[in-house]
Structures are given as C-alpha cells and as structure tokens.
C-alpha cells in the first residue's frame, strides 16, 4: 500500500465516516455503530500495514501543496511515536465504539453521536500524523471542537452544556495560543515542516524568541492536558456520555497536550525554562488531582481527578529533562490509556445498570455484577500501582526518575521523591475508594434500577483492556516492549537511553516507595472512612479553591460585565456623540496633516475685497447663524433663513462665473423649501421649557463644547478654503476641457459638455442616485405612520372649517377656496409658461446655462405649484403624472444613449454631434448629448414628483383619519395605534380650488 494512500486514509476515513454517519437516519443506531467500528478497525489495519516500515525506524510521509506561497503544505507523517498514538486512538476507539453501541439509549440520536466520535477520531489522527506545525494547530482546534460537541451531546442537560462550553473555552483558548506559538516557532526555524523543526533544536533553544514560543506552546499543551491551573474543565467534561469520557480522557483528547510536549521534547526541552514550567505544573497537578480524587463522590468525578493526577505525572516526567523520564512518560501514556479506559467503562456500566454513579448510594454491587466487579478491581489495582499490573511498572520508572532527577531547582528536586510517594499513596486511597465504595459493603438500597450484569458485548471492551493491563504487567518486555522502544526511538532519535522493562528490578528504593505508598494509601483510606461517610462535597482545604467558580466568574466578568462596560465606555449608540466624533476626528486628522508640514504660501495673489460681495456675505453669515440659532424653537424661521443662505450662495455662484450653478441652486432651493415645509407638518410642537438647574448647567456645558467644535471646524474649513483658493496647480485638467468642449464636444457651455459628455458617466450615476433615493422615499412613505399627536388635520384647517360651518350662508371650505381663488388661477396660467421655460432650459443647455437637471426641476416646480394651490385630489383628477414611468424612461434614455455608441464600435457614452442642415429650418444641432439630457430631465421630473407626491399624499391620511368617508377610495382602516381624533362637527373638506 502506498504511503500516500495509507496516510490519507488514516486521517480522512474517519471524517468520511463521520459525514456518512451524520447522514444516516436518527434511529439507525446499528448501522452507525457498524460503520464507526469499521472505520476504527480499518484504522488498525492500516497501522498494522505500516508497522513494518515504522518498526524499522522508517517514516511514512506524504506532502500535498496547500498554500505553498506562505510555506504551508499539507504534510502527513508517521513515525513510531505517531504510530503508537495512532494505535491508541484506533484501538481504544474501536473498543469505545463497541461499548457505546450498548451504552447509548435508543432515544439518543446515535448516528450523530458516532458522527461526532468519528470526526473526533479523525482530528486526533490528524494531530498525531501531522508533519507541519500549523497543521498540528489546525487539527488541534478540531479536536477541541469535536470534543465540545461530544461533551455537549446530551445538551438538554445544563451540566453538559456548561461542561462543553468550559472545555471549549479553555482548550480553544489554549489552541489559539498554540497557534501563535507555532507561528513563532515556525518563524524561528524558518519553516513549519516538522522534520525541519525537529532538526533545529539548537537554533530553537538559542533563539531570543524561544521563551515566548515555549510559553505559547505550553499554554496550548497544558490547557489541553488539564494541567494545573487549567485542570478544572476536565471534571466538568464528565457530563458527557461515558463512552466519550472513556475515549477522550484516557487515550485521546487529554493526551494531545502530552503528545505535543513529547513531540517537541527533543527541540524544546532541556532548558531551565522548560524544567521550571513543565515540571512544576506537573507536580502540582499530580498532587492536587490525586488529593481531590479521594474526596469525589461521583465515580466519574473520581476518575476525572485521577486522570488529572496521572496527566500531571506524565507532565512531570516530561519536565524533568531526562531521556529516561521521557521513556517512562511514553510508557505511562500507554498504561494510563488502558486502565483508565476500562475504569471509565466500568463506571459507565455501573451507571447504566444502577442509574447512579454516586459512591454514597452505591454499595455491595459485587454480588449483583461479580464479573464487572472483578474487572474493575484489576483495573483499579493497575491505577493504584499494585505490582504485577502495568501501572506498577511505569510507576516504578517514575519513582526511579524522581529519585535521580537533576534540575535547576534543588528544593523541587528534594521533595520530588516525597511528592511521588504521597501522590502514589493518594492514588491507592482513591482506587480503594472506587472499588470498596461501589462493590463491597452491604446491599445497596433505593437504587433507581435493579443492578445486574451488563450485556456481554458491553463488557467485552473492558475485558480486553483489563487483559492488556495484566499481560503488560506480567510480561512488559515481551508485549509492549517493541512498541515502546519504537516510539521512544522515534521521539528521541538516536539518543534513546538504555532502559529495562521488567517486573522485578530487585529490592530497591522505588520498590520501597511503592510499598510505602500502598500501605499509606490503605491507612489513609481507612482513616478517612468516617469523613467520607459524611458525604461532604469537595476536598477539604482546597474546597474554597474552586477553580470552576473562579473561571465562571472570570468569564462572566470578562466576557459580559466588563465587555458591556467597555462597550459603553468605548462606544455609543447615540447619534450626537457619533457625529461629534466624526467631526472631531476629521478636524484633527486634517489639522494633524496640515501641521505636520506647515503649508507654504499660495501661488495666487488674493483679489481685492469687493464691498458688495462682502456685504452679501455679511447677510449670508447672518442668515446661517440665524438659522443655527432658530432651528430648535422656530423651525419656520430657520427654514426661511436657510433660504436666505441659499440665495447668498446662489449670488456667489453668479459672482464667480458659474451661471449654471446659480440656476440649479435656485431651483433646488425652491424644491427643498417646499419639501421641508411638507415635512414640518408632521413634527411635534416645541415649547421652551426650562429644565432643572443641574440639567441647565449640563446643557450649557454641552453646548459650549459643541460650540467649540463648531468654531474649530468652521475655522479649519475657512483656512483650508483660503489656502486652496490661493493656489493653482501647474497643470489643470480644465485646460483640455475648455479647449475641446466645442471642437470635440459640440457645445459652448463647457460645464454642460462636461456633465453630459466628458464626465457624462458621473451624471448617469447622479441621476441613478436620484432615482434610488426617490424609490426609497416612496417605499418609506408607503409605510409611514404619523405620530399620534400630528395625525389630526392641522388646527388652522379645523378652525377655518368650523368657521365656515358656523356661518349659515357659507359652505365648508369656502374660506380656503376664497383665499386661493386668485393665486390658483394665476398659477394655472403660469403652468404652461413654466413648462415652456423648462423646455427652453433643456434645449439650450448644451450651449448656454441650463440643462436637463435644471429643466426637470423647473417642470417639477410647475407641477408642485398646482398641487400646492389646487390640492392633491384636484390635480390628480386632472393630471396623471406617472413618476415611475418618467424615471424608468429617463434612466433608459440616458443609459441607451450610452449604449448607442456600442453600435458604432465606440465605448459607452461616446457622443455624436452634427449640425443638420434642413430646408427652411436651417442649421440644427443634433447631439446625442441632447438625448442624454432629455433622459436626465425625465428622471429628475419623475424622481422629484415621486418624492413630493408621496410626501404630500400623507396629508390626505389626516383627513381620512379624522373623517373616513366612503367616497374616498381606497378606504383605509384607521391606524391602530393612533388615538381616535376629537370629533369634528362635520367631515373636513379636502377638495379645494374653485369648483
């Protein structure tokens, strides 16, 4: 079998299986189990196929280009060390799958379970078979992710959700640190390729970035392997289904951190920093875990803390910077996987058959499930380090290392043997508790279920594992020896030390320590009987050191309270501060840029001051300031003053040679005024109510600040304007436009030629803006809902109507009809004249001031005038403007003019002009730009009318709301939230004009 296929299958097959299992129907538990088991067995078969190469010290390798330009390739790599781990993953995986088939209940969506499990298995395979640092981080995070899904599998349980979240938060955080560490490590080495990295140990250890890299990587490894002080997530992960715990916390997830430390041991270990960090984390975890395990009442909790403790043991071994310790660590990894997996499964069986895992409630199960009890007894003995079982051998190796350790921290070295013995004694105590508590003693009372032996296939995996414990314990060198040797050689390279795997090394100090620990453990357990019987939760002394609570609090504080406070402080949801910031930042940015390099003098001499314009601007400034002053309480005044400012702007345009601008400005001015007035009707009344004194002071302060900002912005803008006005760049685009406007653009009004020809594309865009805005305004107004206090017909109208009604000889509406009689007549007569002027502006725009936009606005004003003086219904009964049609046609005309050029093989918007010499009529200019301008005209008319009419029609709503008349089509239900308006004497008259 080619390496590539083998490696890809080993990693890929679990994922494929996961997807397949995920697609199975919810009740297909057997199919899913078979599929999962098959995948695991295929994995084992693949490993078996690879064994010969790996055992000979060879490395299987396959590389695929992924992101070669950033040095990231997908590399799969299997050496002896990876092989060993892959074996654990597949082997334990297969057993767990078998176990789970019987463990999971029929109500659970089992295919999803196996899908997650397989995906997790694939991720694990990915980590151990990665030949690339980034890829390790990649699969590493995947293991976090799928373990999260597995732990939270029973997500209807709050404990499962919390446990899963905590596990993910901790391990993913670690994973991100690891990612950063891998980046730094890759930067140090200059490659992410694991082979290159493993060959660069000296460079790495000597590099100034070694320590940051080490810390980041260890943060990843220690969190994942539940080392102190990150250990607390692991017990909470016990909310997972037991097969998950058996898998994740014996052979796989928690071993990933260990795997990584061992993998990088040759290049990163051997320094004081390594010793300090790793071994102190290990020893703390070892003791703490073992101590806490004694006091757990939950079987799985006990196993969880014992796992923590054993992981601490392995970490400590890795931290000792000794090759022999490294071998011991690898050996203990295997042993721990076997006995811990079997113990978890046993605990699961107990839970499954009795309905509880609480040691306080369990008792005497030995009589109900004797076979299971014996299996558990053996596994627990292995965990306790009882001779002739596998746990004993690796523990002996650990004791030996503890005795011979050297390091930069003498006190630690001195207490090491003591600590090892104490921890070992603790482990004897909790093992005893597990066995004695559950299986011995009087018959249990009040169990949820009547206990009995599990199905034999459910026990089978436990049997296999326990058998392994015994065989390895009896014949270590013959059974596990070659594999351990292979793994150690792969991990350590040629520098693998001599070691001997034997049950009996003579009566030496480690043995003494073992015996001491066994005795002490038993004594301890006996002494604690009374205390444990009380059933107090948590371990004494460290009960207050509840890392979980701390973590939850910290998380809530950091990710919730602090974040919310910070968001409130750093951000805002109010508009005023946001605008203030935009203005301030803009002023500061411009000011900073200008002051960075103080601008020199301009190259134009300012012209002398014309008193007329100066006076005009005095007026303009007065209007602007007045508008600013009045806009709050005297909206109408502000609007009028705004009109004054607009007029001054318009005069300025005239003054400085921009007739087109003046024209357009004026027209826009008129339409805007009408528009704003239309809006004014819906705004609330405003009264100048004095607030409290404190509020007044605050308001005044705020206003002062805003005044400061306004003055700064104004001054800055004035300075900028002056500076830019007084300089002219050496080369101006304008020169070309002036030169070519007539000769090549066919028009004498250069501004218009620019608008419809040189930069016609801008104009096309600009009318699209107008169209889009009109559509938006229309859509918004269709959903417009007036505020309750402005839904009524305005007071003036009610008063005038009431007056008319009160007069016997008058009809309702006479007042307004009389008032408008003459203005509306004149306005109607003006209508054709204004339209004519619009045409005039449109047709001459190319040569003289005018153009489509000005013409369109003029025509719109002609219409608005009729609406104003005739009333909406009156006008619409006579003139049907279809604004959307105008808009559509206008836009199509303008765009069509552009497209027309394609027919002549020219780019979009290429213009054409000629003077047609017609009989009688003489020379007539024919420019495609005119068609374009007609399009502009049509769109402007349509867009303006659409907005204005939509806005104006809202007034009808008020009339309808106050007096729904059947004659008004379409009749509308009154707004839900609007209060019923006060009854008016008779329906209000909406039709105006002279009928």
């Amino acid at each position: 079998m080619p390496d590539a296929l083998l490696l890809l299958t080993a990693v890929g097959l679990p994922f494929v299986g996961a997807i397949a299992a995920g697609l199975l129907p919810t009740h297909a538990r057997n199919a899913a189990a078979w599929m999962a088991g098959g995948v695991a067995l295929v994995g084992l078969a693949l490993l078996w196929a690879a064994y010969s190469t790996v055992a000979a010290g060879g490395v299987l390798r396959h590389e695929i280009d992924w992101m070669p330009s950033v040095g990231l390739n997908f590399i799969l790599r299997m050496d002896g060390f990876a092989w060993l781990f892959a074996g654990l993953i597949s082997g334990v995986g297969a057993l767990v799958i078998l176990y789970a088939r019987y463990y999971m209940s029929a109500e659970d969506p089992v295919p999803r379970f196996f899908a997650f499990l397989l995906a997790f298995m694939g991720s694990m395979m990915g980590v151990v078979l990665s030949g690339n640092l980034i890829q390790i981080a990649f699969f590493w995070e995947l293991t976090s992710l799928f373990s999260f899904l597995l732990i939270g599998y029973w997500h209807h349980l709050a404990a499962a959700r919390d446990g899963a979240r905590m596990a993910l938060t901790i391990t993913a955080t670690g994973g991100l640190c690891l990612f950063a560490g891998m980046l730094v490590l890759g930067h140090i080495v200059g490659s992410y390729n694991l082979d290159v990295v493993l060959a660069s140990g000296d460079r790495i250890r000597a590099h100034p970035l070694y320590l940051p890299a080490l810390i980041l990587i260890l943060l990843g490894a220690l969190t994942k392997s539940a080392q102190f002080p990150f250990h607390f997530w692991l017990p909470h992960a016990m909310a997972a289904p037991t097969p998950v715990s058996a898998y994740l916390h014996s052979a796989t997830l928690v071993k990933v951190g260990i795997f990584l430390m061992a993998r990088l041991w040759p290049v990163m270990a051997g320094t004081e920093a390594w010793f300090w960090i790793v071994s102190s984390a290990g020893i703390a975890t070892l003791l703490l875990g073992a101590y806490a395990a004694i006091f757990q009442h939950d079987l799985k909790g006990l196993l969880a803390y014992s796992t923590i403790s054993h992981l601490g043991l392995i970490t400590l071994l890795l931290g000792l910077n000794s090759r022999l310790a490294m071998v011991a660590a690898i050996f203990h990894i295997i042993n721990h996987a076997t006995f811990k997996a079997s113990l978890f499964m046993a605990a699961g069986i107990i839970d499954h058959e009795t309905g509880t895992r609480d040691i306080r409630r369990l008792s005497g199960l030995n009589r109900f499930m004797p076979f299971t009890a014996r299996l558990a007894l053996v596994a627990a003995a292995a965990m306790a380090g009882v001779p002739l079982l596998n746990g004993f051998i690796s523990k002996e190796m650990f004791f030996a290392e503890a005795l011979s350790a050297e390091g930069p921290l003498p006190p630690l070295i001195d207490i090491l043997p003591v600590a090892a013995t104490v921890a070992s004694a603790f482990s004897v105590a909790y093992s005893l508790r597990f066995i004695h508590g559950a299986f011995f003693g009087p018959d249990p009372v009040d169990l949820p279920r009547k206990p009995h032996e599990p199905p034999s296939w459910m026990r089978f995996p436990v049997e296999i594992l326990v058998l392994a414990c015994i065989i390895v314990g009896l014949l270590p060198a013959a059974t596990v020896g070659p594999y351990l040797d292979m793994a150690a050689h792969a991990a350590l390279g040629t520098a693998t030390p001599e070691y001997s795997l034997a049950v009996w090394h003579g009566f030496n100090r480690p043995l003494l320590m073992s015996l001491l620990a066994l005795t002490a453990g038993v004594v301890l357990y006996l002494l604690l009987q009374e205390y444990l019987a009380k059933g107090v939760e948590g371990a004494p002394l460290i009960r207050r050191l509840d890392s979980q609570r701390l973590f939850e609090r910290a998380l809530v504080f950091l990710s919730w309270r602090l974040a919310r406070t910070a968001e409130g402080l750093l951000g805002t949801r109010r508009l005023q501060p946001q605008l203030r910031l935009v203005v301030c930042v803009a002023v500061l940015a411009a000011g900073w840029a200008a002051l960075l390099r103080w601008p020199g003098p301009g190259n134009l001499i300012p012209a002398g001051i014309d008193p007329v314009l100066a006076l005009i601007w005095a007026i303009g400034a007065g209007c602007a300031l007045g508008a600013a002053w009045q806009a709050k309480f005297h909206r109408l005044a502000a609007l009028i003053l705004l009109g004054g400012t607009g007029l001054v702007t318009c005069i300025t345009f005239v003054w400085f040679s921009a007739p087109d601008l003046a024209l357009t400005q004026l027209l826009v001015e008129v339409v805007t005024t009408v528009l704003l007035l239309l809006g004014l009707r819906w705004l609330p009344k405003r009264l100048d109510l004095p607030g409290t004194r404190a509020a007044e002071v605050l308001t005044r302060t705020r206003r002062l600040r805003d005044l400061g900002i306004a003055v700064a912005a104004g001054a800055g803008m004035a300075a900028l304007a002056f500076a830019v006005m007084t300089r002219v760049p050496p080369e101006l685009l304008a020169e070309h436009f002036l030169e070519r406007a007539y000769t090549e653009g066919g028009g004498t009004n250069v501004v218009n030629v620019i608008l419809v020809d040189f930069r016609g594309f801008d104009t096309l865009g600009e009318i699209t803006v107008l169209g889009a805005v009109a559509l938006t305004a229309y859509a918004l107004l269709r959903r417009f809902r007036p505020a309750p206090d402005s839904v009524d017909v305005p007071e003036q109208q009610r008063a005038q109507s009431a007056y008319d009604i009160a007069q016997p000889e008058r009809r309702d509406g006479d007042t307004v009809a009389d008032w408008l009689l003459i203005p509306s007549l004149i306005a109607r007569l003006l209508f054709p004249i204004i339209c004519l002027v619009a045409m005039f502006l449109l047709l001459r725009g190319h040569d003289q001031p005018g153009g489509g936009f000005a013409a369109g606005l003029t025509a719109s004003i002609a219409m608005i005038l009729q609406y104003m003086l005739g009333g909406t219904q009156w006008v619409e009964a006579r003139l049907r403007v279809l604004p959307l049609r105008w808009m559509g046609i206008g836009l199509l005309l303008a765009a069509g003019t552009g497209l027309g050029a394609w027919a002549f093989g020219r780019p979009f918007l290429t213009s054409y002009f000629a003077y047609a010499d017609l009989p009688v009529l003489g020379k007539l200019p024919m420019a495609s730009a005119l068609i374009f301008d007609v399009g502009v005209f049509a769109l402007v008319v349509g867009a303006t009318m659409l907005t204005l009419i939509a806005l104006a029609r809202q007034s009808l709503r008020g009339h309808r709301a106050s007096a729904p008349r059947p004659a008004d089509p379409p009749a509308l239900p009154p707004p839900v939230s609007a209060p019923t308006p006060p009854p008016t004497p008779t329906p209000a008259q909406t039709t105006m004009g002279d009928d």
């Binding site: 008129v670 009707r681 002027v837």
Partner: protein, 93 residues
C-alpha cells in the same frame, strides 16, 4: 470718465440693493411674527433679482439673465408655500 461714472454708479446701485437685502434679512431674523419673516424672504428674492441684473451689466454678460428669470418666475413658489403653511398648517392638502 463716462465709463468711470457707470462703474461707480453700478457699484453704488449694488450697494444700495445689498443694503435693501440687509433690511429684508433684518426682518427675517427679527420677525416678530412668522409672516414678517416670510415677507422678508420675499423681499430678499426681489432684491436679489435686481442685484443679478446689475451684475449682468457690470460684467456685460447676459449669462446671468436666466438666474434672474428663474427668481422672478419661481422665487414666489417658496414664499407661497410658506404662506400656505401659515394659513393652513399644510403646504399640499
């Protein structure tokens, strides 16, 4: 000399007109009633028309005629709208 007189008289005329505009703006600012402000704006428009015409003479350009024409033709629309608002509380009924 004659041209000089013309130049100066245009200038004086413009200043007079701007002062007239100032009077109108005074009303716009001072009020006291909304109708006074509207009246001010209307006057401002009329005066501005004339200012534009004098400006046309000053620069001997007829290009500014359209602007003046537009004020004369359409300037009243905004004041009419304002008046309508005062009388009816609504511009388009």
């Amino acid at each position: 000399m004659i041209a000089e007189i013309l130049v100066w008289s245009i200038l004086v005329a413009q200043i007079l007109l701007v002062l007239a505009m100032g009077c109108a703006v005074y009303r716009m600012l001072k009020g006291p009633r909304a109708q006074d402000r509207v009246l001010g704006l209307d006057t401002l428009y009329v005066n501005a028309t004339m200012l534009l015409l004098t400006f046309g003479i000053r620069t001997a350009s007829i290009l500014y005629f359209e602007a003046a024409l537009i004020i004369a033709l359409l300037g009243f629309v905004s004041t009419a709208a304002l008046a309508k608002f005062l009388m009816r509380g609504e511009v388009i009924e």
